[in-house]
Symmetry: none
Subunit: 206 residues, 4 copies
Amino acid sequence: MQSRTPAARTGRPRSAAADAAILAATRAALVELGWSKLTLGDVATRAGVAKTTLYRRWAGKNELVVDAVAELFDELELPDRGSLAADVEGVVLQFAAILARPEAKSGLMAVVAESTRDAALRARIRGSIVERQMRLVLEGRARAQRRGELALEGDPAEAARTGELIFDMVAGAVVHRTLVSGNQADEEWVRGFTRVLLLGLTAPSA
Amino acid sequence: MQSRTPAARTGRPRSAAADAAILAATRAALVELGWSKLTLGDVATRAGVAKTTLYRRWAGKNELVVDAVAELFDELELPDRGSLAADVEGVVLQFAAILARPEAKSGLMAVVAESTRDAALRARIRGSIVERQMRLVLEGRARAQRRGELALEGDPAEAARTGELIFDMVAGAVVHRTLVSGNQADEEWVRGFTRVLLLGLTAPSA
Amino acid sequence: MQSRTPAARTGRPRSAAADAAILAATRAALVELGWSKLTLGDVATRAGVAKTTLYRRWAGKNELVVDAVAELFDELELPDRGSLAADVEGVVLQFAAILARPEAKSGLMAVVAESTRDAALRARIRGSIVERQMRLVLEGRARAQRRGELALEGDPAEAARTGELIFDMVAGAVVHRTLVSGNQADEEWVRGFTRVLLLGLTAPSA
Amino acid sequence: MQSRTPAARTGRPRSAAADAAILAATRAALVELGWSKLTLGDVATRAGVAKTTLYRRWAGKNELVVDAVAELFDELELPDRGSLAADVEGVVLQFAAILARPEAKSGLMAVVAESTRDAALRARIRGSIVERQMRLVLEGRARAQRRGELALEGDPAEAARTGELIFDMVAGAVVHRTLVSGNQADEEWVRGFTRVLLLGLTAPSA
DNA sequence: AAATAAACGAGACGGTACGTCAGGTCTTGAA
DNA sequence: TTCAAGACCTGACGTACCGTCTCGTTTATTT
């Protein structure tokens, strides 16, 4: 997560258990208190750890919460469900399920908000959360192209642009429905969304 | 903004100028400091107002920022640009321009994050920000239906569902690109997005 | 109490009832809350009066409390009980009874404390509280001298010095016992005190 | 002053220097500002200490000022001056000199006033100020009894009563003259006072 | 009767201090 | 060198009172 240095042999070694305990405590605090009422002192107490231990590993609340939330997205997978529509529906439902959890709800938008003024935080979010999702989109598109369900782009720049567009449309719609509109992204909604998205991507532009 | 009650004739009336000064000061502080470093004491000082005056009118930082940001969306309009595509591109560009402003960037996601644990705040955001945008979407769709560019829905429930879907897709994509992906929603992107969206909405479902 | 000017004929006259209500409310608040938690807003409310009315008559908390407490000492009297000892015991008991009341306890020492840094307040206290008590002492001494129980001083300066000394010894002992030592100045104590005092004043200095 | 507990071995120990700095700053603030304008934030700043450090050690303004003023009385001593009259005059002059200092003037009566409604504060004042003075009185009396200048009481209860009476008369007279009457307790006054007091205590009751 | 003028209630206003809380750092002794 | 504990400095919080002000209203006296 941090301190990648394999050196540092002398002195008492850092407790490996502490990291996991702290992240778990962070998520628990997010569920109970939400972002704004979460305090690092409380997280340390919950984790059975001193505040100094926590600060030795993370720079502050933002970085800690990014790491704690990022782990939630580890479970995102893209099994081959046989068709592009089924793949999209599957992954969107997974994504919606994660976003519906209170620790994600509370924490994710908050760190995104903070990241608007902090480039390092933005990079950290991108690296540990956004790109992970983005990779799924690209992988799904490649699979659909192998299946012949989506056309192959000739221009690599055009390919990148389209990939980004798809990603923003998918993630944006789910996030907006869940967090802004405050509705559930259930199966019915996901089917409707997928239908419009795929029609838009595959219909002849005429 | 608050206390619409026409009662309360007695006592010194509240200064109307103070409201405007406070909201303007809030936006200025958002630009300079961002959400997390904005303090109500500082806003009061900037507005030339006592902290108590501020607390007499707003319950806290969240409510104040919602009102301050909401005013930014007052300029959203939907002039008839002749075609559905032109209308969509026009309004999305306007929306993107507002979101690109630092006072919106800083404040909007933060209050949305807070609103995940505060129903009253959620209602305030919906009332003063979200529904205003939603109305534009509905109006645009109605205009397109009058033009014959979009089909009329028979079922009103189906119509509402579709309206919500379109809204979440439009707002979500722009917000996600601007705030999460961290890219600009420029004309080229808007054209590409509009193409996919409208194809998805108008192409025969096969 | 204030505004001694007999002029000011035009306009609505000040309510005489308000003064009395305010002073009574002040004493009630002293009893319930004590000096430090007494607020002028609360006094105004108790008196059924606006804060402005209160401030039109008194400069602040100190002045108000001096006037409110001063009225308590109106009941001090010096009836002729036949002997100096009886006179002293009588007036000391009266004085102790007033000091034992919570409104006096709370307010008196507080304004004295404030007066150490405010000459105007000191003058006000002297004028409306201290001199009233002092006059009793002088009157009692004169009576005792008429009776032949105390010697007549030849030197008027010496007479003044002795008068002040007696006053400080009497008032000081009662106040100290009541407020600092925190004991009751009951009949037994008063008898003991009077005995020592009068012996000290009348015994041959030899 | 507080936390006499020898426990609490873990964690960073409290700074001993901070205590002294805070009490000195409190006295300085009393001199400059007086009781009512003394603020704990200002004291903390003067002491070069955070407000929280101050609140960690004292419950509030009252307790702090009691401790700050109590230290002034540390210098009270009762050297053997050869006779009871000389002993009394000496200690009364010392006491008057302390009371004449602005930090004592401002603070002492104020905390006494507060203590009328706060038993814990009353106990604190008694423990750290009043009993210290009382002990001097008792010691002086015992010395005079050894010298044969004062009679030995047979009844211990009577002895206690007389001790209290003497103490209230001495302290009360000095305090009243200094703080209420607003005059200086100079040598001349002290001589006059001592004469009356000792005559009262030693003359045959006739 | 009308005009004038001050006092009145209500309550908003700019301030100041309150006592608390969280952030992030530092200091101790033990592991 | 890390750890738990907890004291430390900093700075914002939201509240309470202060004493002033601005309203519309009431109650006198003066025309």
